[in-house]
Symmetry: D3
Subunit: 68 residues, 6 copies
């Protein structure tokens, strides 16, 4: 099944911690990858984003789905 989600990072599980309802999973990602971020045009302009800029892609852990 092909997914519409643009960001798919391959890696290895290095930690599994389970609570009563949730679980915290650690994944070591070593391959280089292209991250796609959809932000508002307003934000892109306020940050003055341009090719070559050094940036950080920030992702809340509750937004990460795991495929196996």
């Amino acid at each position: 099944m092909q997914l519409s989600a643009r960001n798919q990072l391959n890696g290895k599980v290095t930690g599994v911690e389970k609570g009563a309802v949730m679980a915290n999973i650690k994944i070591e990602v070593s391959e280089p990858s292209t991250i796609t971020a959809i932000i508002t045009k307003e934000s892109a302009e306020k940050l003055g984003l341009a090719e070559g800029d050094d940036v950080t892609a920030i992702i809340k852990s509750t937004e990460v789905i795991i495929g196996k």
Copy 2:
């Protein structure tokens, strides 16, 4: 400012495409990194996740914030 978001991937902007309201930003990430994923305990058990498993971290592009 320190952020609670666990996943912070450094990289370089390689594409900026603006529409009327949204913008599609491409970021080349080359450094290895540890991804944290919060999933349900139920999912961790159904996938039988364990250390050493080869997996894919899947992230929708609308969930990626950019820091500059």
Copy 3:
């Protein structure tokens, strides 16, 4: 109160499991419904999405709000 969220699926609670901070709720949905998905144009084109395609709508459980 009318909501901007396009997807509102009526159903019956069939499970309530509480942890220290979170709760896992199961809802049986039987009515047919129209799901709206907002994805990138890029993804729509890479998947070659067209009317009549058989697809799966995938939603992380942390993204589901409950109304009662």
Copy 4:
């Protein structure tokens, strides 16, 4: 690939509308399904959620990934 995302609703595409950056996709879902919602324990208690309750599962369209 098995996914950790609990909610996977099968259906048929009934609409594809593309903008400059985003696309609005409509999917007719007819099969009954079990929806999993992760909410705070606090919310489950404030809503007094219990088995048999009639509820609505509310999902923002930007949170729906499509598999094909």
Copy 5:
């Protein structure tokens, strides 16, 4: 209909900008409010969060639903 979403901020629309698929809405919120944030225990400990701390609640605009 009562919602499980903990954060409900009342305000007045001060801007509506429509694109082909999406819309950017501005809302002036003046009432004081209590924001609930669910983060990982790990993050709460790394940030050393404690009562009385001055913090910023950060919310991506694609995560805001509007009720009217």
Copy 6:
């Protein structure tokens, strides 16, 4: 570091509750602020959103990142 996330609400921590994996953080926000919401054009039109409308900005607690 400047963030693309449009909504940044300053406040004070008034509660920290930790479970095995997650934590529930309460933040008192008193300053007035402008909230940006990205919804579908379709939703903006169905709700008939216009300047001056009284509305509620609804945000699931799992979508709130904390900065300190």
